[in-house]
C-alpha cells in the first residue's frame, strides 16, 4: 500500500501531482523514524500540495504506518492546517469595528459578486481564497484589506477593482 503514487488521485493527469508525491516521499523518508514526525510531515505536505485533503492524509497515515484517526486528529486540531484547497493568494477583508463602520461590508458584498465566491471559499480559477479578518490593527486606514502580507488602506469598491487587477 505504500508504493509511490503512479498517478494523481484528484485529476486525470498532467497536473504535476506525481512530482509532488515524490517530493513528499523524500520528506517522509527523512523524518520517518523520528518521534513526533507527523507534524513536520504534515507541514511539508501542506507546503507541497497547498492543503491536506483526506486522501492525502490517508497517504501519509499509510506511509508512517499510523492510524488515519491520529493524522486527522492533528490536522483538525491546528488551524494552520487546511483540509480545503486554498487559492494562490489569501484575500482578507477586515471587519473590525473601524473597518466595519467605514464600509467593510460593502467590500465583502462587492467581492462576493465580482469574484463569485463566498467567505471561506476559493475562486474558481484558484487565484483567491476569501476570508474575513477580525481587526488587523490598522484602524486608521479603515476600511482595510490584506492580500497575503500586503495591507491596502481606504479601500473603495472602485479601488478594490484596481487592486485585484494587479493579481
Amino acid at each position: 500500500m505504500s508504493e509511490t503514487r503512479q498517478e494523481c488521485r484528484f485529476c486525470a493527469g498532467g497536473c504535476g501531482e506525481q512530482a509532488k508525491y515524490a517530493e513528499l516521499d523524500t520528506v517522509i523518508e527523512s523524518y520517518k523514524d523520528r518521534e513526533g514526525c507527523l507534524i513536520m510531515v504534515l507541514h511539508a505536505a501542506q507546503e507541497i500540495f497547498g492543503y491536506l485533503p483526506i486522501e492525502l492524509q490517508t497517504y501519509i497515515a499509510d506511509k508512517l504506518m499510523i492510524p488515519l484517526s491520529e493524522v486527522y486528529g492533528v490536522v483538525s486540531f491546528y488551524s494552520f492546517f487546511s483540509m480545503k484547497e486554498c487559492g494562490k493568494h489569501t484575500l482578507r477583508v477586515c471587519l473590525g469595528t473601524a473597518c466595519y463602520v467605514r464600509g467593510g461590508m460593502r467590500l465583502i458584498e462587492h467581492i462576493k459578486e465580482k469574484l463569485n465566491v463566498e467567505v471561506g471559499g476559493t475562486t474558481a480559477d484558484k487565484t483567491f481564497t476569501f476570508e474575513v479578518a477580525r481587526c488587523i490593527g490598522a484602524c486608521g486606514l479603515a476600511p482595510a484589506i490584506m492580500i497575503d502580507d500586503e495591507v491596502y488602506k481606504h479601500v473603495t469598491p472602485k479601488y478594490l477593482d484596481e487592486i485585484l487587477a494587479g493579481y
Binding site: 483526506i54 492510524p67 488515519l68 484517526s69 491520529e70 486528529g73 491546528y78 488551524s79
Partner: protein, 602 residues
C-alpha cells in the same frame, strides 16, 4: 527499589518508588475522586478531577499523574482541593446530556456517581453546549451527547488494541472523540471488539441493544426461541448481581434463562466441542497435506473471534487463507438449530429464533454478515452481551442470587471441560491439542491435568512445542514432528504474529488469536470493572475450575457430539461444509475492497 515516605492527610504513608499520589492514597484506604484514570488502561491526566493540594506546590496536582515523593505532604480534602474538583465536575456536567432517566448507564454511571460523591446539587453553569450526534453500527452505538472527553476509549483502542479507530479531532470546545473525518464507526476498520464500551465511564459508548428484539421474540407464540450462552458468560454473570468475580454461575445462568421464557436453554459450550471436532480435523488435514508435500496453508489460525476476523480482513486481506474455515461456535450452533434440530422437532427454520448470550460486541456484527446464513435465514437472530442479559434478568424481576442451580437442556446442552476453556486465551488451542494429539498418537496429551502449561496465562504471546512420537500407523508421516503453536490475545499481539506471517518468518503450525486481551473472559460485552487485570485473573480461575470439575475433558469424548455426527454425517463432510464452515471477505484498511458496511441507518 527504595521506598518513598510521604504524608497524606496527615497520615504517614510508605510506598515503593514510582507510585503516584493516587496509588499511594489507595494503600491507606483513601480513594481520591477521579474520572478519567482507569487502572492499567488510561493514565493521562485529562479530566483533572483528582486534583489534590501538595504543600509547597503553587498549583493543584493531578494525583493520577504525579509521583509520590519523599517528604511530600498531600491534602486530598482541603477546602481548595474539594472546591476545585467540584467545579471540575460541574463544568463537565454543564456540557453533558444530563438526561439520566433515559440513559442505560443510569445508576451505573461513573459521572453520576462522581457528581453524588463531590456533592453536586445544582446546575450552576449554564451555557452553550457542544453535543455531537448519535452513530449506530451493528455492534457499537456512539452517543456523543454524553461523551466527557476522558479519552479512555482512545487508550483502549489505540494503545491496548493498537487499532486506533477513535481519536480526538478538532480543538477546545468543539473537540470530539470520533473515527477519522467523523466517519460512522460502522464504515471504518473498527473490529467491534467493544473494549471501548467496557472502559467508557458514561453512556457514550455502548453495545447496540438487541434486548427489544429478544423480548419481542419471547412474546411471539409463533417463534420457537432457543438460547445459548458462551463459555465466558458463566464466569462473569454473577458480578452483575453483586457477586465477587472468580466464580462461575453456570447453574443459576441456566435457571435464569429458563425463567426468562426461552423454549430451550442450550449451551454454546456444546458447539465449542463441535468446533474442536471440525477445526481439529481441518488442522489435521492441513498437516497431513503439508507432510506429504501438498500446498496446504500453515500456520492455520483460529476463527472463533469475530473481532479478530474483522481485523485480519481489514489489515491483512491477502492472508485470509490462514484462517480456519470454521464458523465461530455460536454460529455453528445457530446453523445446527435451524437445520438439524428444527427438523428433529418438526419446525421450519423460519419458526426458530436463536439468541446468543455473548461476552462480545463483535458477535452482533458477525450475525449481520452476508455469509452467516443458511437456507435463506440468518444462523443467529440476536446477540445479547452479558450486560444486556443482566438487564433483562432484572427487568423480569428475577432474583438471580436466589435461583437454584439447573442444567442445560438436552441434546445440545452437554459439554466437556475443553469447551469451558474456550473463553480464556490459550483455551481453544488447549482444547484442540487435547483432541489432535490423541488422534495422532492414540495417547492422552502429556501435560499435568491436561493443561498445556506454556500457553496458560495472560502473556501477550505464548508458544508451545509438542513432539509427536510413537504415532498411530496411519500418521506415520508425522513421526518425530514437533507441532509448534502460538497463542495471542488482543489485537496488538495479533499484529505481531501477522507481521511474521507477512514476512514469511512465522515458525508455527497453528495459531490461536482472540481479539480481546485475555480472551472472552474480558471481552467487549463483559461487565465493567475498576481493575481489569485482577478481574481477568479471577474469571480465568473460574473457567479452569469449571473445566477441572467435569468428568469429560476432551471434546471428542462428548457423547452428544458423537451421537450428533452419526446423524449429521462426516466431520468436515458435505453438511459440515455447507452449515458449519464459512469464507472471509477481503476488506482493506479503508474497506476499499468491499461494499459491505455495518452502519445501521436509523
Amino acid at each position: 527499589m527504595a521506598d518513598i515516605a510521604l504524608k497524606i492527610n496527615g497520615r504517614q504513608v510508605t510506598v515503593p518508588e514510582g507510585y503516584t499520589i493516587l496509588e499511594a492514597a489507595e494503600t491507606v484506604g483513601i480513594e481520591i475522586p477521579r474520572l478519567c484514570y482507569l487502572k492499567d488502561v488510561h493514565k493521562f491526566g485529562s479530566c483533572r478531577v483528582c486534583n489534590v493540594e501538595v504543600k509547597g506546590a503553587k498549583a493543584l496536582q493531578p494525583a493520577c499523574m504525579v509521583a509520590a515523593a519523599n517528604g511530600m505532604e498531600v491534602f486530598t480534602n482541603s477546602p481548595r482541593a474539594r472546591r476545585a474538583r467540584k467545579v471540575m465536575v460541574e463544568l463537565l456536567l454543564s456540557d453533558h446530556n444530563c438526561d439520566c432517566l433515559h440513559c442505560e448507564r443510569s445508576l451505573r454511571c461513573e459521572l453520576q456517581e462522581l457528581a453524588r460523591q463531590v456533592g453536586v446539587t445544582e446546575a450552576r453553569f449554564e451555557g452553550e453546549q457542544n453535543f455531537g450526534g448519535i452513530d449506530v453500527s451493528e455492534s457499537i452505538t456512539r452517543d456523543m451527547t454524553k461523551c466527557v472527553l476522558c479519552r479512555r476509549c482512545v487508550s483502549a483502542c489505540g494503545n491496548i488494541q493498537e487499532v486506533g479507530i477513535l481519536s480526538a479531532s478538532n480543538r477546545g470546545f468543539t473537540t470530539e472523540i470520533s473515527p477519522a473525518a467523523g466517519l460512522p464507526i460502522g464504515s471504518t476498520n473498527c473490529t467491534f471488539c467493544g473494549q471501548c464500551t467496557v472502559v467508557c465511564p458514561v453512556g457514550a459508548l455502548k453495545e447496540t441493544s438487541h434486548r427489544e428484539r429478544v423480548w419481542k421474540a419471547l412474546a411471539n407464540p409463533d417463534k420457537y426461541v432457543v438460547v445459548q450462552p458462551a463459555p465466558a458468560v458463566r464466569s462473569s454473570i454473577g458480578e452483575c448481581f453483586g457477586m465477587e468475580p472468580g466464580e462461575a454461575f453456570t447453574g443459576k445462568l441456566a435457571a435464569a434463562l429458563r425463567r426468562l421464557g426461552f423454549d430451550k436453554v442450550f449451551d454454546t459450550n456444546w458447539a465449542a466441542d463441535l468446533t474442536i471436532m471440525e477445526e481439529g480435523t481441518e488442522f489435521l488435514t492441513r498437516v497431513r497435506e503439508h507432510l506429504t508435500g501438498g500446498k496446504s496453508v500453515l500456520p492455520m489460525m483460529t476463527s472463533c473471534s469475530p473481532g479478530w476476523i474483522k481485523y485480519i480482513e481489514n489489515h491483512y486481506p491477502d492472508e485470509l487463507d490462514h484462517l480456519s474455515t470454521c464458523k465461530s461456535p455460536h454460529m455453528m450452533f445457530g446453523a445446527v438449530i435451524k437445520s438439524y434440530y428444527a427438523k428433529k422437532i418438526s419446525k421450519k427454520p423460519e419458526d426458530m429464533f436463536v439468541v446468543s448470550i455473548m461476552p462480545c460486541t463483535a458477535k452482533k456484527t458477525e450475525i449481520a454478515r452476508h455469509e452467516m446464513k443458511n437456507d435463506g435465514y440468518p444462523n443467529v437472530d440476536a446477540v445479547l452481551t452479558v450486560r444486556e442479559l443482566a438487564d433483562m434478568i432484572r427487568d423480569a424481576g428475577i432474583d438471580f442470587t436466589a435461583l437454584p442451580d439447573e442444567q442445560f437442556d438436552d441434546p445440545l446442552g452437554l459439554s466437556t471441560g475443553a469447551a469451558d476453556i474456550f473463553g480464556i486465551t490459550g483455551g481453544v488451542m488447549g482444547a484442540a491439542l487435547r483432541t489432535v494429539y490423541e488422534i495422532i498418537t492414540g495417547r492422552e496429551l502429556p501435560f499435568p491435568n491436561l493443561h498445556v502449561s506454556p500457553i496458560v496465562g495472560l502473556d501477550r504471546i505464548k508458544e508451545a512445542f509438542i513432539k509427536l512420537d510413537n504415532v498411530r500407523p496411519e500418521w506415520a508421516a508425522a513421526e518425530g514432528l514437533e507441532i509448534r503453536v502460538a497463542v495471542t490475545s488482543g489485537l496488538a499481539g495479533a499484529k505481531q504474529l501477522m507481521e511474521q506471517i507477512k514476512a514469511g518468518t512465522s515458525a508455527y503450525h497453528f495459531i490461536e488469536v482472540m481479539g480481546c486481551p485475555g480472551g472472552c473472559i474480558t471481552g467487549g460485552g463483559q461487565p465493567r470493572s475498576k481493575d481489569v487485570t485482577e478481574t481477568r485473573k479471577l474469571r480465568m480461575k473460574a473457567l479452569y475450575k469449571e473445566d477441572e470439575g467435569k468428568k469429560l475433558r476432551k471434546s471428542h469424548e462428548n457423547p452428544d457430539i458423537i451421537a450428533f455426527y452419526k446423524e449429521w454425517g462426516e466431520i468436515n463432510g458435505h453438511a459440515s461444509h455447507e452449515y458449519l464452515h464459512t469464507h472471509y471477505v477481503p476488506r482493506g484498511i479503508y474497506n476499499e475492497l468491499t461494499d459491505e458496511t455495518f452502519t445501521v441507518r436509523r
